[in-house]
Subunit: 170 residues, 2 copies
DNA sequence: CACGAATGCTTGAAACCTAAACTATTTAGC
DNA sequence: GCTAAATAGTTTAGGTTTCAAGCATTCGTG
């Protein structure tokens, strides 16, 4: 029998006794993490079941779809916020399946440009349509005004986090 | 049935008339994901540098800290929202380092209870103090009222996602 | 032009993570 | 009591992920 991750108990459960003082921020972070994890797990599950693929593969294709001129491995790495070694392996698998192609840059022999193949574009279009619907479905319990407010507050949160990143101050 | 029929758009018309239309939800999700990823990456980085440990290890210790009576592997798996096979390996490493101990349940010979050792408790206390400060630091750019509003909206989002999970309706 | 620094990518080791198959034990129904 | 189903954990195979080290190429500066 497969594992059932849906039947979980929150990470934000206990944590009631609070001596120090930053428990508020911690609770906020745990709730943020819970939301993301819930959505992510569900999307992974559906991607696997419906398209026999994984989230990182989908994400890489999505990056290339948005950049018709192609992206270098380094650019993909930065946009996906993962290590470059990670992208190397991911791209290798996708290339082997004929979903993307790589071409050495004519101006810089170190760099390679990744591009969707026709098949990759077709395949991603199918996945993307479904994906968009899934997200809408999961967010359907929020009123449009709530979604807008949440979006704005997350923008503020993003700015706050960026400001607190190490090296960001320098 | 709605009071004002002229202003009512049912699901069919909405689907028929629009190209896709769920870009809002998608943007919201991507921003949520970005926030979480940013924080998570930074916490991972600091845990590694300051304590030479990883986020999943920290999370497992945190679960046990909150449950002084101990937890079975399955309970940990559900609370951390990861597979049970995952917890097996994680717990094995932590036990080998003497941070946690496992004991077969006296009432159920299948189950094992995990507990922090004295050393594990000491070590986690150090990490936890730092971790709490890091989160507060990253969230420092949000006013208390913003944090409260965000927390509430994320609660709504969590409920929405839960309602949309497969099998959750059954 | 030379050469040290920076950049783009790959590789290797180790950890993480999942889904699925498996073993052992307990529970429920008859 | 017996047996089928459910439950607790482990194992296996394969993808994901990081960090650190390494190679090749380009750039900046003298």
């Amino acid at each position: 029998m497969p594992d059932d991750l849906t039947r979980h108990v929150d990470a934000e459960t206990a944590l009631a006794g609070a001596p120090p003082g930053h428990k508020d921020e911690l609770r906020l972070w745990l709730r943020l993490l819970t939301c993301t994890t819930l959505v992510e797990a569900e999307i992974r599950r559906r991607l696997r079941r419906e398209f026999d693929t994984t989230l990182p593969r989908f994400d890489l294709l999505a990056q290339l779809e948005r950049a018709p001129a192609g992206l270098t491995l380094g650019e993909v790495s930065r946009r996906m916020m993962v290590s470059n070694g990670n992208v190397t392996g991911l791209a290798a698998r996708l290339e082997e399946e004929g979903l993307i192609e790589r071409r050495v840059s004519p101006t810089d022999r170190r760099a390679q440009t990744l591009r969707l193949t026709a098949r990759g574009r077709r395949e991603f279009a199918r996945q993307s349509r479904a994906h968009e619907g899934w997200i809408a479905e999961l967010m359907a319990g929020l009123a449009p005004a709530e979604r807008a407010a949440l979006h704005a507050l997350l923008g503020r949160a993003k700015a706050s986090v960026r400001a607190g990143l190490e090296g960001g101050e320098a």
